[in-house]
């Protein structure tokens, strides 16, 4: 019996538990990585973070992305799922197939696709704006400090919308049809039905997905930023994980980088916990 468990547990311990513990441990040291010179500094790394403008910037960017992308993706995902399940669109399966495609593509591909979309001169977006005579709306989508974060955000929504739509569709389709029929006879509008029947009944599913969304958005923003902008221009699209990566590899400040890692860990855990508390409702049965 042990022979069945042991390989999995050993691999898990070596490549997940130990490195995780190490993130916390290393955050208390200053260490340049390859030298044996490792000095215990306690919480100094964390103290430095507060005065580090780049870190504060990365933190703000992460929070902005989390709030905007979560609101847009989940809102649109819910809305789409509701009309796709309620309205029985004829081409529903095909649409579902298409909308889920970005979720199977790699982030590098998405980054490359969006570079083609955002390209200043020959990009799809700017040339489309020229086509409809909205020339003044043209932007340097990935080169403008004010715009770049939202450009990344749009790519994030593009990537994950289909996933959340499908997730909500599957829990919505298990709601019994009678509930809608009965309320329809009572004269409830589709909007009313959505808020009084659909939402309460899929609430638990919504809560779980919110928790996972926060975790995955933190990670997705990192890989996208890493591949699309490298954090630029002038760190205006830097997010927490990309800043951690930069400190660890480019700057060889492993201890400092790991302190950032600990902050992200604590932050996303805390946000998930708060979200879970804030959205707690009595579970409804149907």
């Amino acid at each position: 019996m042990l022979a069945c468990l042991l390989p999995a547990l050993v691999l898990f311990a070596v490549f997940m538990v130990y490195p995780t513990v190490n993130v916390f441990r290393m955050s208390l040291y200053t260490w340049s990585g390859f030298s044996p010179d490792m000095k215990f500094v306690g919480l100094d790394n964390f103290r430095h973070l507060i005065d580090d403008e780049q870190f504060v910037r990365a933190f703000q960017n992460t929070v902005t992305l989390l709030v905007v992308v979560t609101a847009v993706t989940m809102g649109m995902g819910l809305f789409l799922a509701a009309i796709m399940t309620r309205q029985k669109l004829r081409s529903r399966n095909f649409l579902r197939f298409v909308l889920y495609i970005p979720n199977v593509l790699s982030v590098v591909v998405i980054a490359a696709v969006f570079s083609a979309i955002y390209d200043q001169n020959n990009g799809l977006l700017n040339s489309m704006l020229r086509l409809v005579s909205l020339d003044s709306w043209q932007q340097v989508w990935l080169g403008d400090q004010k715009v770049v974060l939202y450009s990344v955000g749009i790519a994030m929504v593009w990537q994950s919308l289909g996933y959340y739509m499908v997730l909500y569709m599957s829990s919505m389709s298990s709601i019994p049809e009678e509930l809608y029929e009965a309320s329809g006879l009572d004269g409830a509008s589709a909007t009313r039905q959505f808020f009084s029947i659909t939402m309460p009944l899929i609430w638990q599913n919504l809560r779980t997905s919110l928790t996972f969304f926060i975790m995955s958005a933190v990670n997705l923003s990192f890989v996208l930023v890493r591949a699309m902008t490298g954090g630029g221009p002038d760190s205006s699209s830097e997010v927490l994980l990309s800043y951690m990566y930069k400190q660890a590899y480019t700057n060889s400040s492993y201890g400092y980088g790991m302190a950032i890692g600990v902050v992200i860990f604590a932050f996303s855990f805390l946000v998930s916990l708060l979200m879970s508390r804030a959205t707690k409702r009595e579970p409804l049965q149907f």
Binding site: C4, F12, M16, Q87, A116, S216, G261
Partner: protein
């Protein structure tokens, strides 16, 4: 004849709503399909065709970009690495997770609660956080073994990359498989053991075939995770050998600087096509599997 005076059904309004719904959903589908289709078309364009309007169709079926991407940009070689790493990763994760999940689902043992809790916690640890310590650990191992392997063994080794992929997807895999094993009635195993089947035989001959849907789901999700990863492979394969994703990232930087996009788009198609083929074949199962328990963003 009495005229029954019913309130007029809001047919007109609902028709407008329906049309608007269609317009919206189709616009979204186009927002996804157009860029993807555009990449496919652009991969057939000549260098000179990239300037001017991006909406013109390619002049002909020009496959030179693919030849260039495969050979000059080494995408063919990276492709082989990716296939190797992905397949080995899948084999490894199944080899260690299936027996473990079976034991957790069916047997009581000391410390079981702790093991389950630990694995559950692992679901929340994303590899992006721990890729730095994993890298440093492998550097240390290489240092310790420098006498045996002067060139290093653990870094730049695709098999080790597979091992890391497998290890980091253990929590998700065991979680999903355990849940599925638990849903299979114990009666099957009891019947088999009365017939004299060994525990090993029960697992391989009865439980495995019955758990096929769950195993397929696990393979799909892990396939996508391994094939699409680039952060871990970027870190653990810093040398010449690369996976397709890292190769594409390099191609991306190089071609952009040179304003020569043909190869880049061909490279993208090379990376996208296997995933789209797999997706097209198994989309139904993928979506069912996602709904039935795999919350993995």
């Amino acid at each position: 004849m009495t005229v029954i005076n019913t309130p007029r059904p809001p047919a007109a309004r609902s028709r407008i709503g329906r049309v608007l719904t269609y317009v919206l959903v189709i616009a979204l589908a186009l927002a996804i399909a157009v860029p993807v289709a555009w990449v496919l078309l652009a991969s057939l364009k000549k260098k000179s065709e990239f300037f001017g309007s991006p909406w013109t169709l390619p002049e002909g079926l020009r496959l030179q970009n693919y030849v260039d991407a495969f050979t000059d940009a080494h995408m063919g070689q990276y492709f082989a690495t990716s296939v190797f790493v992905t397949v080995l990763g899948l084999v490894l994760v199944l080899a260690v997770s299936v027996p473990a999940a079976y034991v957790i689902a069916r047997y009581e043992f000391k410390g079981k609660g702790f093991v389950e809790l630990l694995l559950l916690g692992g679901l929340f640890v994303n590899v992006n956080y721990i890729v730095v310590p994993i890298f440093l650990m492998l550097v240390d191992w290489d240092k310790a073994l420098v006498d045996v392997f002067p060139g290093g063994f653990f870094l730049d080794n695709p098999s080790v990359l597979s091992l890391v992929y497998a290890a980091t997807s253990i929590p998700f895999t065991i979680y999903l498989l355990t849940a599925y094993f638990r849903s299979i009635p114990v009666a099957y195993e009891e019947a088999a053991s009365i017939d004299g089947a060994s525990r090993f035989r029960i697992m391989t001959r009865i439980m495995l075939p019955m758990a096929r849907p769950a195993i397929t789901t696990v393979i799909l999700f892990n396939f996508l995770a391994y094939w699409n990863d680039f952060i871990i492979s970027l870190t653990l394969l810093p040398g010449e050998g690369k996976t397709v994703q890292v190769g594409l990232l390099n191609l991306f930087t190089a071609q952009k600087a040179a304003a020569d996009y043909g190869r880049l788009y061909a490279g993208m198609v090379i990376v996208i096509v296997p995933v789209l083929i797999v997706y097209a074949f198994i989309q139904k199962r993928l979506i069912e599997g996602m709904a039935s328990g795999g919350v993995k963003g």
